[in-house]
């Protein structure tokens, strides 16, 4: 009963793969969320780091959002622009391709991660470069481009400070915006001392000194790099302009110093016109870093002779996005501008951390985007555990700058997970039994009478445990009151007589 294409593994009319390829396992994790979360919940340092960081960034965001009188109107504008883009994405992409080409860029279309990686590897090989500098990019994290380049003998250097920390420690990012949010500064100092040649052995954990060390480490690379690789925040269809939004200036270096720039862009990043940026450049910094205005906003259109890279390649990446677009509700997930506000307000993310999701897209938006990109294949697909990693508390919707109805999408993806069951689970059996019991008043009364047996095992009005596999999960931390001597309907019948 799900939307066609969500779980089907066939091929659409366009010859596009319906789900993402995931050559390095960056979308589909290796274990279900509850198993991975168990580990992170027990990590005291991680809990401290995440609690502190998300609390700080939540307060900062709340402050700057409250300053804007028309914040709700801005959110609605962002939602409207994105809905319009999704409704006519094919024509906007063609318009965008023509504009980029007219301005001297070369456009490549990649059906999936494997194809995108192959295109980029071939392009870098063509330049003869052995090393590339990278701007922080979720799309290339998704495709595992660094690994693909590494296999081709090309070193990819992450230049965003937090990505650099993650890369140096052979770790995985755990947040869109703050990939090393799970690390504190003394851990970062240790990583720098261990992994950076020429670093001052007296380095302390003072943030300014850590930034200076990274700056010195990176500067040499910027000046020698011949190829830069970036992602995209926004792509303007009518002018062929690309915009990258960052806070450190490393992106500006990567986008302007090398001879060759290769940009990988998810096809959903389109906005129709230049003036649409006005909306998103207000929504994004306040939602993500809690800043009023973004520090480094780079925009470029094709190639400008004598200024910046003289060769510009753009790789348009599908990797499951057409599948998401095919779902009338689910496509909202493509509206995401990767601000990470939903991660920062999510009580599940705050405690379990980004790695528990197994995907480069963690948190509430990741829990609805990842299973749509990968598709849910069978009963034991770990992607199916993601939409259940939420209490449906709704904090994510309130924080989302483009009003993605994440709680609704979570329910929808849970339904997709249930529909993908290839054999009945314990949960299926329990839910069918519950539905049968609730489907008639007579049967429900029988269940109520059976529940009263619970009065036999309670002490002082409390039940501390009951046998059974599902029960252990509840009674591990919580008591239950003993069932009442009289149900509500019995009280009603006794005091009010036969009911209506």
């Amino acid at each position: 009963m799900t939307d066609p294409g969500v779980t089907d593994l066939g091929v659409t009319d366009l010859g596009m793969p319906t789900v993402a390829s995931d050559p390095y396992g960056h979308l589909r994790g290796s274990e279900p969320f509850p198993v991975a979360a168990r580990r992170s919940l027990a990590d005291t340092q991680l809990r401290q780091n995440l609690g502190h960081a998300t609390r700080t960034i939540r307060a900062k965001r709340a402050g700057v959002v409250a300053e804007v009188d028309d914040w709700e109107e801005l959110r609605r504008a962002g939602e409207g622009i994105k809905a319009d883009v999704m409704a006519r994405l094919p024509e906007l992409l063609v318009q965008f391709e023509e504009a980029v080409t007219a301005r001297g860029g070369v456009v490549h279309w990649a059906r999936d991660a494997v194809e995108a990686n192959r295109i980029v590897v071939d392009l870098v090989r063509g330049t003869g470069a052995q090393e590339v500098v990278k701007v922080k990019s979720m799309a290339t994290q998704e495709t595992g481009l660094n690994e693909a380049l590494g296999e081709a003998g090309i070193a990819a250097l992450e230049t965003d400070l937090a990505e650099l920390i993650v890369q140096l420690s052979d770790d995985r990012p755990s947040h869109f915006l703050v990939p090393a949010i799970h690390r504190n500064r003394s851990e970062i100092r240790d990583i720098f001392l261990r992994e950076m040649p020429d670093v001052d052995p007296e380095l302390t954990d003072e943030p300014r000194l850590l930034a200076m060390a990274a700056r010195a480490h990176l500067r040499r690379k910027f000046l020698s790099a011949r190829v830069g690789i970036s992602g995209v925040n926004f792509a303007v269809a009518d002018t062929g302009t690309i915009s990258v939004v960052e806070s450190e200036g490393n992106g500006r270096m990567c986008l302007t110093l090398p001879d060759t720039l290769i940009t990988v862009m998810g096809v959903e990043k389109i906005v129709p016109t230049w003036s649409d940026l006005e909306v998103f450049l207000q929504l994004l910094p306040r939602s993500s870093t809690g800043e009023r205005m973004n520090p480094y906003t780079s925009t470029w259109s094709g190639v400008t002779p004598g200024d910046g890279p003289q060769t510009f390649h753009l790789v348009l990446l599908d990797n499951g996005r057409s599948n998401v677009l095919a779902s009338p509700d689910g496509r909202q997930a493509l509206h995401c501008i990767r601000c990470s506000a939903c991660l920062n307000v999510c009580p599940v993310y705050e405690r379990a951390g980004g790695h528990a999701y197994g995907s480069v897209y963690p948190g509430p938006i990741g829990a609805v985007l990842t299973p749509q990109l990968t598709g849910i294949q069978g009963t034991d697909d770990v992607s199916a555990s993601l939409p259940y990693a939420s209490t449906l508390c709704g904090a994510c919707f309130d924080a989302c700058p483009v009003r993605i109805d994440i709680p609704h999408l979570l329910v929808q993806q849970r339904a997709a997970a249930v529909d993908a069951h290839t054999r009945p689970t314990t949960q299926d059996v329990a839910m069918r039994a519950a539905a049968a019991a609730m489907s008639s008043p007579g049967r429900f009364s029988l269940v109520e009478r059976a529940l009263k047996l619970g009065r036999l095992i309670g002490r002082s009005g409390r039940i501390r445990s009951v046998p059974g596999p599902g029960a252990a999960a509840w009674f591990g931390a919580r008591d239950m009151p003993t069932p009442p001597a009289e149900t509500f309907r019995q009280w009603w019948a006794r005091t009010r007589g036969p009911s209506s």
Binding site: P347, Y388, L392, D398, A415, Q427, A434, E486, S499
Partner: protein, 249 residues
């Protein structure tokens, strides 16, 4: 006003004090309460666990039972009303039953959470209650963000004689219940519960109240396990208490 009571399955079977208090309170305020005895469950657990096909007959049953029952319906549960208001029509449409979806929408417009009914429909904040205890209020997520009840429960509590209201730190953060989440992701649920309980205990309240039995079952289950001595009491029970008849502990 004639008001149909949605007792909720959990309230009927395990926590009857909340629906009883709802009846007593509304009758004290001069209204007629009816209890359509064929009611079972709104289907929230099935919907929110992804069993939308199994939820469809439950939605149909709920709509059939309540559509003609009274002018309005009330439930002492933000999440059950949230399901009725925001999910029943969706479940019906997904099942291809447009007629049911329209009937569900009509009923949804006439179904209220208790604090909404009191403040918005009946226009009352002082319900004449007396409850001489130190109380903190947890605004459950579905009341807060699905129904947007805002400060209505607090306005009702502030008018209760004898009651000392203490502010709950980080009140708007989820308690970690989340229906089947509490079992499927028991450890994350417990981690959230631990923080909620720490905040409740920091208020030195005797009683933690909320508008949803299920969240209180979770918070109360944790507080009981800790032998904290803090009770969980549904908002309806506090509002139903009077100097003559305090709802028993």
């Amino acid at each position: 006003m004639k008001i149909a009571l949605v007792a909720t399955c959990l309230g009927d079977a395990l926590f009857p004090r909340a629906p009883r208090a709802t009846v007593e309170l509304l009758e004290r305020l001069g209204h007629e309460v009816v209890f359509p005895a064929d009611q079972t469950c709104c289907g929230q657990m099935h919907v929110n666990t992804g069993y939308l096909d199994l939820a469809l007959p439950l939605v149909r049953h709920h709509v059939e039972v309540f559509s003609g029952a009274a002018d309005v319906a009330v439930a002492p549960s933000g999440s059950c009303v949230g399901c009725v208001r925001h999910q029943h029509a969706m479940v019906a449409r997904r099942g291809g039953d447009e007629e049911l979806a329209r009937a569900a929408e009509d009923l949804a417009h006439r179904t209220y959470e208790l604090s909404e009914l009191l403040v918005d429909v009946l226009g009352v904040t002082d319900v004449g209650a007396y409850y001489p205890h130190r109380v903190t209020y947890h605004p459950t997520c579905h009341s807060l963000r699905m129904l947007r009840v805002g400060d209505k429960p607090l306005r009702l509590l502030r008018e209760v004689r004898g009651l000392t209201l203490t502010e709950l730190p980080d009140a708007e953060v989820c308690c970690g219940f989340g229906g089947t989440f509490a079992v499927k992701n028991a450890e994350t649920s417990t981690a959230m519960l631990a923080d909620k309980m720490a905040n409740v205990l920091s208020t030195h309240a005797e009683v933690c109240t909320a508008g949803d039995t299920s969240c209180l079952m979770h918070i109360g289950g944790g507080l009981s396990r800790l032998r904290s001595g803090v009770r969980t009491v549904h908002l309806a029970e506090i509002l139903a208490s009077t100097a003559d008849q305090e709802v028993p502990a």
